[in-house]
Symmetry: D2
Subunit: 393 residues, 4 copies
């Protein structure tokens, strides 16, 4: 019976019935003229979500990890230097990917819970007087710690250092849920996927590339075929695909964009903020602490929450699943055992959030956490009530 | 976004994805041999849910109201006397249906909130020395008041009066959610539908008839064609249907019965009782009262809850829908304006129930009800925690 | 693997994926404001399909047979006289239904294969000098014989006889596939269902009633509750339903009407005519004969085809199913064993029709019918080629 | 209306409703224990389809092209020599992919229409006395020409040359449709995808790797992260995935394997052979020629058919789509304009094949091809009749 409960993992997100139906479609010929009728709006309308007018949108049947690989393979060459700060699991993994592709990674180690260190980036870039650093790679939303970084500040730092490096941003767990302004922030490649803010199944990497990034692909020496921007863009420009496209996901993306625009992107962002704030009120009421170091870093798509000293967060998430049939995010990497995560992105309502809060409260009580049953729910209810006019967009 | 919230109306119930998929099927020929492969198990396995070995299961593409009409048309003649107690909206409607079909209805008026009055039935039957009363009609679960009647006691009263009348029972909102024992209780016709405990879409009336009821159809003079038991049973016995069958619903019923048996009927009943008890703990915590007069009458599928003096329950349910996108049952008939209802039947979990309780709490707080936010949720959480081992059947 | 083959029964029809998806929806509260958003367009737009501006559309969770029962119960009284011609299985069944409801049925026996006998109706009505006949009941499209009757001619006969009887028309297997003009033809009640021209699952009777028919319901004495027009119209007028509505089918109807109007009703009719004509070319090429007596009677939704002397049509349809996994209509009633039927209505293309023709040809060849393999297909291909510009509306 | 017609492209294939429903599922947590319940059978049961007991199955959210890339990146190093014969579009593309990844590709140019040249491979391998060739790459089924190669013969040639090179085989458009015997044929990596014989949506590359191939990954220097076997196998072995898995496709694969085993792999192969043979009978009857050079090369999943001199195959496939709403495969590469293709793989029946043949016949007639309407259909019908006992497995 439990498969009717929502999930509270930070993606893949709960899928609206409308999108499941949009993907429930028979095979059509991807070389037939109607293919482009579905695909062209996706490429066009994704630009609005990325906040770009001058960039190009490129998709691959893949995941966010594939999107990362596509970003570096198409723009960099073996031995190229890139600058990355490690402050969570996903920045860590991106570093690993770059190293495996024989890039020279300059790593800035930060505490987990902090965001992208604009000042340290500026220092490193100023020190790079030969402009060896070809790209700065930043994770917009660290899913492991629930930290949202200030990309505009990173761009500001790069500009302050007058450094020509490109700026690549992982926005897998932020796009279509929190504001993203590719052009305004001077992002060169932004990487996302179908299974988070777009509320679809996993299977599509969605990137946007600036003209500067596209120029870099002419000289990039890292090998690529499946992830080659040139093949994809050439095929797309004539309404095609360089290999078999994920037709159902493309139709799902078309429907997802329609849903997002019907609600209005601003309303989508406001809804995410409201739901996240409700969760944070509950965390406060429980007397627990977020992993994110300070309020300006709080993510609106996922909250990573420290369990009290002496408790094991893995036991908590396991118990919540076993006793109540609800999935929460486990603590990843350094946070393993120390924190659990509540995903609050995608297709979600205040009502659904309350069920998640009520559930984790029960699980905490079962494990003798020093929290009061109903306290977090009541705090969230109070907040949701006051802001209810924003609820039913 | 709000269409992802569960409904808390007392049916139609939330539909499991598995059953939506089972009904998502192309047209097959209902005269082809494979029709019976789906239909025969439905007729056979429904008997277990009705608790009958000697009765016959009969279905119609219709609703519970159609099932009522089928019950009387196939067994009674114009002018026949029937005995019914009015203690809620659905017993009231059944009376109306009988009167429109020119039956002579002896009505026992009871207060809304009471159940089937076994003693008054016994008195009426004893007084009927000429055995003019051909049938006693009882609503097992009064959806309007959240009252579950004691059918065994009604049968006991009939037996005590040594009266030969048939016993017809409306179990639309109880079957497959609360125990039902057709044979043990001496029920002659039991009437249910696809959209409650069976968790399907609306569109199938499901009846079980005893051999005594089937014998009555030979002399019954009320006109019927669409609802004729004889045509249906004759066609069914050779694997057919007297007109076009609702193929997708039949396949849905097959899948629903499989789900029910996988969980186990006893576990299904226990789950409903547990969820209902959680709701009742919340009602207590709010300081509100159920419409049902006493605990033995409490329904495990729906709770009808009086709002405090001076409040309008319609305003509450409207507000819950408008502000939070959640549907609760309105007060019906005498209860209109005075009570709201929480449906807790069908495909439901403790986690989903908590979201409903949290929502109605917010709505009550918004309308200045004298309740404390989180209080009902906490009471239900406490109960659900203690009984959690029963949760994930 | 065979469940991917289309069916060629004369309904239920092949269901477009778009409509299966439209019906794949979660439970919503039928008392919530959004119910009427789906239902009002159905009631309004069905009028266009019926060809009425002055009539009212009324639906029941039921089938065409239920629609028949609703028609007579709401307008007639026991003992009332009705006039019906028997020329096929469905007119036969309607006679039976009227007799079971204690109507006095004047039957005009016609050969199977003929249509509604306007002249004989006129004679009978002229002879009814006391206007005892309250209604003339006509089957527009006799599904058993593939005969389409001329309803305008029947109305002409009634007018010529200056008779005030009402005209009821069964258009179950014609509506939304062949032109129907309720107002122009003076039809008082037209009865259809969801599973034919509307391309949906079985489960909704769809009627349209003239003001004259609605006036008759005030004095009609046949008992009815489930099928009561008054309850349904009163509830509908305030956006509700007198009992639980078949929500998914209502949303399906909304989507079906959208599909029909997108294609354009005239194009829908032209498509059905073209597909039917292709089938008839094949029948000609096989040297077989239609049951319909003459070309003006040929139905555009189903062809009933005599098998040659000495062959058993049941063996043919059984073999087609067993050997090739394709369902064709069996011969019904008098035609049993003598004729098989090819349904060509609803969601169908020329390409699908060709697969049906090719299949039945193989089955005929397997059973040593004196036909040439490919001959019928070629004749249909030739016709479809010449008319291909009408194919892809 | 045309979206109800089957497609006759050589993949993606027509998707059975059962598999569309299997993929119509809500998000579940891929880190929850039930993930492995779906995934483990996929990894296990795919082995049977590959015909391997000693190999390992590895999947990626990707396509066949991604599968190729995974195969070489995990086993080879820049500068490594590989041996490939070019005899169609897909062997051509694989060459291109290898070259882009800085492999040293020794190409054997063959005519399009021929298969893998075992003798020439043997010569090349014998000439490679230093064992510089690390892998022989073969396309089992050339989708562009409808040519099935003899992999056992290739392995025979390698053995005859006593060469230690690995054997990689692209079986994207053959696996689960034609016999494949990885172990028996000594294949080191076999590469397929979800959208052909598995009858699912596009989005999963499915590989099987021999122990020899797995050993090679320890020293392979081509960079890879997304496609890294090591990460995938390590995660899989503990029931996980190294990044977000395509959950719905995994559940689809589980259901697909169930369908294949229910039908029986031998029956699946026999069905494909029968359908292909029917198509070939039609081609003969039309007086046209297959691109495949000789009968032992005929593919059972796709037929590439030369149009007569003076005709343009692109015009034919375009017209078939525009006039009849049916998609056939266009001529690829060298065959562009010269040949069209009929895909006959995946979820397909004889009945569906006949509709495709009838359609392309009409299109050819419309364009004045010298063919007789119905001739190809009749030839296929004749063949299907004689072999009908194999039809309805």
């Amino acid at each position: 019976m439990t498969d009717q409960n929502p999930v509270f993992i930070p993606g893949p997100t709960n899928i609206p019935d409308r999108l499941l139906n949009a993907m429930h479609m028979q095979t059509r010929d991807h070389r037939a003229p109607d293919f482009v009728e579905a695909f062209a709006p996706v490429l066009r309308d994704c630009k609005k979500v990325f906040g770009t007018e001058t960039g190009e949108v490129i998709t691959f049947p893949s995941t966010g990890t594939g999107g990362w690989e596509a970003a570096i393979c198409n723009t960099l060459s073996p031995g190229d230097k890139v600058l990355i700060a490690r402050y969570g699991m996903f920045s860590h993994r991106w570093i690993d990917l770059c190293q495996r592709h024989n890039l020279n990674v300059e790593i800035i180690e930060c505490s987990w819970g902090s965001g992208a260190p604009a000042e340290l980036f500026e220092d490193a870039l100023r020190a790079d007087t030969d402009n060896e650093i070809k790209a700065v790679l930043v994770t917009h939303n660290e899913t492991a710690t629930g930290v949202k970084s200030d990309i505009a500040a990173v761009r500001g730092a790069m500009n302050a250092a007058s450094h020509p490096a490109m700026l690549f941003v992982d926005c897998v767990s932020s796009l279509a849920s929190m504001p993203f302004e590719m052009d305004a922030w001077g992002v060169d490649i932004a990487i996302s996927g179908s299974q988070k803010g777009f509320m679809l199944t996993t299977g599509m990497a969605i990137l946007a590339a600036s003209q500067k990034a596209l120029a870099a692909m002419e000289t990039a020496q890292l090998p690529r075929t499946f992830f080659d921007f040139r093949d994809m863009m050439a095929a797309n420009s004539s309404g095609g695909f360089p290999y078999t496209p994920p037709l159902q996901l493309i139709h799902g993306m078309k429907a997802s964009l329609e849903m997002l625009f019907e609600e209005g992107l601003e309303n989508v962002y406001a809804r995410h903020n409201r739901l996240a704030e409700g969760v944070r009120k509950a965390v406060d009421a429980w007397g627990l602490k977020l992993c994110a170091n300070s309020p300006e870093l709080y993510s609106d798509t996922v909250s990573a929450i420290y369990v009290p000293e002496g408790f094991d967060s893995n036991q908590l998430t396991e118990h919540a699943f076993n006793a109540y049939g609800v999935s929460f995010g486990i603590g990843l990497g350094e946070m393993n055992g120390k924190a659990f995560r509540i995903g609050h992105l995608g297709s979600l309502t205040d009502v659904m959030v309350l069920s998640g809060l009520a559930t984790i409260e029960m699980a905490m009580a079962d494990l003798n956490y020093p929290i009061k049953l109903g306290s977090g729910v009541a705090a969230a209810q109070e907040y949701f009530r006051k802001t209810a006019s924003k609820a039913t967009a």
